[in-house]
Each structure stands twice: as C-alpha cells, then as structure tokens.
C-alpha cells in the first residue's frame, strides 16, 4: 500500500525532473567557473533526457519513469566565440541559470503540494 502511494506517474516524473534540474545546476555552475579556461567546452544535460521524460510521462507507466537517469554531456551545439576554443557565453549561462532556478521552484512546489495532499488525505487535516 505504501509503495502504491508513492508510485504515481506525476509524482515520479516530478522527482526525476528535480533530479535533472539539480544536475543541471551543477553543470551551469561549472560552466561559469570555467568562463576563462582555455579550450573548455560547456556541459549541459544530455538532450535525450527531455524526450525520454516526455515519452515516459505520456505512457503513465511508473516503472518506465522510475528507470530514467538524467546525465550530463558536453554540449555539441555550442560554438566558440574566442580564440582559445572556450564555448561558454556568459549571457547564455546566466539565462540558463535563471530558467533552471524557475524550474526548480516549480518542481519543488509540485512535489511539496503532492506530499501535502497525501497527508491531508490520510489525516483529514493540514
């Protein structure tokens, strides 16, 4: 019964999205820390994860969602604007960081809300 309580597709998907957001925060932080490192190539979330998450969520299959693993990879679409081959653009990184922060706020609110609703359903009070 306990497992079924937490095995809802939406809850699992929100958890996986939060995993991805936290991973991405580390990647963006690393990109900005290496803003001036010669030859550094920016890293980001592997682009396949988003499509996989979409597909798994649409399938409403808890096991498929739980099996997802977000991962980081070198961003192959980034081009270098400086002579030393560094592909980090500060404005882009800051914008990604802000978007990521908003997604983080959304996912934590979703998860928090789901847990609160579970509690309310169980105990009948807030």
């Amino acid at each position: 019964m306990i497992e079924a309580l937490f095995n809802q597709p939406n809850y699992l998907a929100a958890n996986k999205a939060l995993d991805a957001v936290v991973l991405r925060e580390g990647a963006i932080a690393n990109n900005i820390a290496n803003l001036e490192t010669p030859g550094y190539k920016r890293i980001d979330l592997a682009p396949s994860f988003e499509t996989e998450l979409e597909r798994a969520t649409a399938s409403r299959d808890p096991q498929q969602i739980a099996a997802l693993q977000p991962a980081l990879a070198v961003d192959t679409t980034a081009v270098s604007s400086s002579r030393d081959g560094n592909t980090v653009h500060l404005e882009n990184e800051l914008m990604q960081m802000n978007q990521n922060a908003m997604t983080h706020a959304l996912e934590t609110q979703l998860i928090s809300g789901m847990l609160s609703r579970m509690q309310m359903a169980i105990t009948g009070k807030d």
Binding site: L23, A33, N34, A73, T108
Partner: protein, 142 residues
C-alpha cells in the same frame, strides 16, 4: 562537513582566481608610473596565470569531464619596459631616456572589467545555489 550546496565545487576556486586577478590589476594600475622600485628597476607588470586540469569525474549520474581550476600564480610579465624621453627626470639615463613600466591603462581597465564580470557571475551562481537549497529544505512544509 555537510555538503548542502551541491554542484559549486569549482566556483570557489574560480572566485579565488578572479580575486587574485583583480588584486594584481589594481597593483599594476597603482604602479603605472613607478620608475624606481625597491630593486632600483622600473616596476615590472604582473600577470596571473591560471592552472587548470581536466579531471575525469565519473559520478553515478554520468557526469562528463569537469575541468577544475587548481590555482593561480602570479608571474612577472617579461616584456621590456618602454622608454620615454624625459631628461629632467632623476631616473633618466645618459641619453635622457626614462624606463617606464610597460603597462597600458586601456588593457588593464579592460582586464579589470572582465575580471569583475566573471567574479560577479560566480557570485550569482553561489547565490542561486543557496536559494535553491532553501527551496529544497522547504519541501513538505506548509
């Protein structure tokens, strides 16, 4: 110690590095007219060299290579001093030429702006990591 803020391992090294750079630039600017230092020679412009290493960080989440800034060291710029014709200067040599530090104010100011920008960006990263951690800790509270 507890690792609450994850993902910003390299940020503090970057902040250190930029701080060093800012200090060195400030010193260069302050000494732009120093023709006679402690060793009797004109001030030699200093540059900051970053030491980086490519660490292979294979975590369970499949992170790719995470290059890390290991540290910085300050080196003296090896370019020769520029000579200015100023016969009245006490440091002028036999030909009336004074050796001035090879410091270009425009270059130093551009470096200063770039270093400040990088420093601020890394600070923003730390602030962001902190606010995300606070949000995380608020999960489940109502």
């Amino acid at each position: 110690m507890i690792q609450i803020l994850s993902g910003i391992q390299n940020t503090s090294a970057a902040l250190d590095a930029e701080q060093t750079r800012l200090d060195v630039i400030a010193q260069n600017i302050a000494n732009v007219n120093t023709t006679h230092g402690v060793d009797g020679k004109p001030y030699q412009r200093q540059v900051v060299v970053f030491e980086t290493s490519l660490q292979q960080a294979m975590n369970g989440d499949g992170s790719a290579q995470m290059p890390a800034i290991q540290g910085t060291h300050v080196e003296k710029d090896s370019s020769p001093p520029i000579h200015i014709y100023e016969p009245g200067n006490p440091d002028a040599d036999a030909n009336g030429l004074v050796a001035m530090p090879n410091i270009n104010m425009q270059d130093e100011m551009a470096d200063l702006i770039s270093a400040s920008r990088t420093f601020e960006a890394n600070l923003a990263v730390v602030k962001n990591a902190r606010s995300m951690a606070m949000e995380t800790l608020a999960i489940g509270k109502h």
